[in-house]
Amino acid sequence: MVLRYLIRIILFFSLSCCIPITVIAGEPTERVKAATDKLLSIITDPELKGPEMAKVRDKMIRQTVDDVFDWEAFSQRALATHWGERTSEEKKEFISLFGQLLERTYMDKTRQYSGEKIEFLSEEIEGEYGVIKAKVITASGREIAVDYRVMKEKGDWFIYDVYVEGVSFVNNYRVQFNNIITRSSYEELVRRLKEKVAGE
């Protein structure tokens, strides 16, 4: 009787080990990795190198980045306490301007690509939020720590902040924007953003 009971328990445990466990870890990393791979393939594509292809190439890069970056979250976090005071039109305008500013700032950098590699190290998920740790290895072998902060929205993971060597990208803009708004006004910030986006 006891033996039969024991066998049942053993059978139960050995069977439960066979039930496949759906692996959900790695989903955000896969998404970010896919985007960076795609970005690298666009940047290194010899057919897109020429100046006549610049527009097509920039558009492709922007599209790839837009797929994984949550610009609204970026803008909200960067404007911080001033976000709530804005009307929905102002918010929309700001999201577009901020995106264009970053595009202007970083698009040129993609032209200076010289064989940097990215290695994904770990992923920590806590509910709707996660941190993906990675490192960028330059051609000379220098390592730069990069953390992607991601959050789940409408079933997909989006990047809402990037930390380079422990320094938050959002915080950098948050402090600058707050300084401008406190010293002058929100309108002045928008004016400066427009100037930056339009200026060569």
Binding site: A80, H82, Y163
Partner: protein
């Protein structure tokens, strides 16, 4: 009758002295009796960089609270912060450890966020920036980073 008056006044004087002493020791040690009039939240840092208990918590350059406790949890620094009830923090606030001057004391700077969600008492500031190690920066600059 006169003797009783004298003893009574000496007694009152001593009691007043003791009360002052108790008040001073509580103030100097920055301890809170009866829990104080604030709430606590915490933040996890990959490097607390020598932040000490009692260090200032600053928003917009104004001291609003202090670091209550620092401990190591899962090889990370858990920093418990005490804040007054009227200081509410949005859930996308960022906490950073900064240094006064180049080699001065460490303190905690919080930049408030834009979220509508507020961090509840006992909650956590998710976004943190670790202390910048000046020595490491200088050595990287002088000797070059491998």
């Amino acid at each position: 009758m006169k003797k009783i008056d004298l003893e009574l006044s000496v007694g009152i004087f001593i009691l007043a002295g003791l009360a002052c002493l108790a008040f001073l020791s509580v103030k100097v040690a920055k301890t809170e009796i009866f829990g104080g009039k604030g709430y606590e939240i915490y933040a996890m840092f990959s490097d607390a960089g020598g932040l000490k208990e009692g260090a200032s918590v600053v928003i917009a350059g104004v001291k609003v609270g202090h670091v209550k406790n620092i401990s190591m949890v899962d090889y990370k620094a858990k920093v418990v912060i005490s804040l007054p009830l009227d200081v509410k923090l949005q859930e996308d606030s960022i906490a950073a450890i900064k240094t006064r001057g180049i080699i001065g004391e460490k303190f905690l700077v919080i930049t408030p966020g834009g979220s509508e969600k507020i961090i509840e008492p006992g909650g956590r500031i998710r976004e943190t920036m670790p202390a910048v190690d000046i020595e490491e920066l200088i050595s990287n600059y002088v000797f070059g980073k491998l």
